[in-house]
């Protein structure tokens, strides 16, 4: 009798605990399906659309996301630099390259669901309309805690961060033109500064 109760308990604990834990793990960490990866940057253009897979649908509901529509834009996030090292608030990064196709874009640093604040308490962010570029449309943006000449995104604090680059009114969201698109590179230029 006791053996039977024990066996039933094991079965129930494994089923409920294992099922819940595996689902939580997949929703939190594994973000594979439907990803569009360009260099260090990843976007999920299908998340929030009716064609999204069941995991993306569950994530949309769980996190309360109202994702950008196809006519609005695509948000790319980077949690690692171009060499594959995790992005940190206490490192300096040079973001350089060409503008992705779209009407304009914004770039900001975030920790969790919040944008990082810069030294004057404003969001650590830049957009393509207040950006300095050279004659060929290329640009370099420095991300770091110390002021830098040119385009600078000031950050404060330490630990891991992510960079979010959102391209608005972009052909990327419809899934075309991906082949010849290049997102900017994120090159680390020193740490603990």
């Amino acid at each position: 009798m006791i053996k039977t109760v024990f066996a039933v308990l094991i079965t129930l604990c494994l089923a409920i605990g294992g099922g819940a834990a595996s689902l939580a793990y997949v929703l939190d960490d594994a973000r594979g399906a439907g990803a569009l990866t360009l260099g260090a940057w990843t976007a999920y253009p299908k998340t929030g659309s009716p064609e999204a897979d069941p995991y993306a649908r569950a994530r949309t509901a769980r996190e309360g996301i109202l994702a950008l529509g196809a006519a609005e834009g695509v948000a790319f996030t980077a949690v690692r630099d171009t060499s594959g090292a995790p992005l940190r608030l206490d490192c300096v990064y040079n973001i350089e390259g060409m503008a992705p196709p779209g009407r304009f874009w914004t770039l900001f640093a975030a920790v969790g669901p919040e944008a990082v604040k810069n030294q004057s308490g404003r969001p650590s962010a830049i957009n393509s309309q207040n950006l300095l570029r050279n004659g060929e449309g290329r640009y370099i943006i420095t991300v770091g805690r110390r002021p830098a000449p040119g385009n600078w995104i000031g950050v404060t604090g330490e630990g891991a961060m992510q960079l979010v680059m959102t391209v608005y009114d972009s052909s990327l969201s419809t899934g075309t033109e991906i082949g010849d698109v290049s997102m900017p590179e994120i090159i680390q230029a020193g740490c603990n500064v």
Partner: protein, 182 residues
């Protein structure tokens, strides 16, 4: 021993079943989805401004600091939604979401007539009724026919720098999301 192995195998099969069942129930049951979060902030048809709220973030789950957004929940059984604004901002976009938060229609200022926001959301049945007696004020409107009744509209406005904050909040604040019977 045999009984233990039996229990573990049953448990693992059960874990798979629980995983799949919860996965498919989550969009219907989540107490934290966008609809429920918006319901905490305002009633149906209330255009609620958001400055940096994660529920209105992009795919990344983080809200863009250069944007202000406003959202309202609607129920088309009460009437059609006519959202219009004759002010201009550097860029605006609007999306219609279903009850589960899936984006079913989106547009921006380049897709709209003269760059002005003028959007009507209605069901195919209401569209038939409206065709019988077209309203003058909707001549320029973009019509979004949708089979859903409950949904969410979000309007986002771009502020390239802080001098635009006031214009963008007036743009969003002037939106009236009330249901209009036909």
């Amino acid at each position: 021993m045999f009984r233990l192995v039996h229990a573990v195998i049953l448990g693992l099969i059960g874990a798979g079943v629980v995983h799949i069942v919860v996965l498919f129930l989550m969009p219907e049951m989540s107490p934290r989805d966008a609809w429920s979060r918006l319901a905490e902030d305002g009633g149906l048809y209330a255009m609620t401004p958001y400055h940096s709220d994660s529920s209105l973030a992009g795919q990344s789950g983080v809200a863009d600091p250069y944007f202000q957004a406003a959202a309202c929940r609607f129920d088309l059984t009460d009437g059609i939604i006519h959202l219009a604004q004759d002010r201009a901002v550097p860029f605006w976009s609007a999306s219609v979401y279903d009850r589960q938060g899936h984006n079913i229609y989106s547009l921006n200022d380049r897709t709209a007539q003269n760059g002005l926001l003028d959007l009507v959301v209605l069901t195919p049945g209401q569209m038939v009724d409206l065709r019988k007696s077209p309203l003058q004020e909707m001549e320029q409107s973009i019509f979004v026919e949708t089979p859903i009744t409950e949904g969410i509209i979000v309007v986002r406005g771009f502020q390239p720098d802080e001098s635009w904050n006031r214009q963008v909040s007036e743009f969003l604040g002037g939106l009236d999301c009330a249901a209009e019977p036909i």
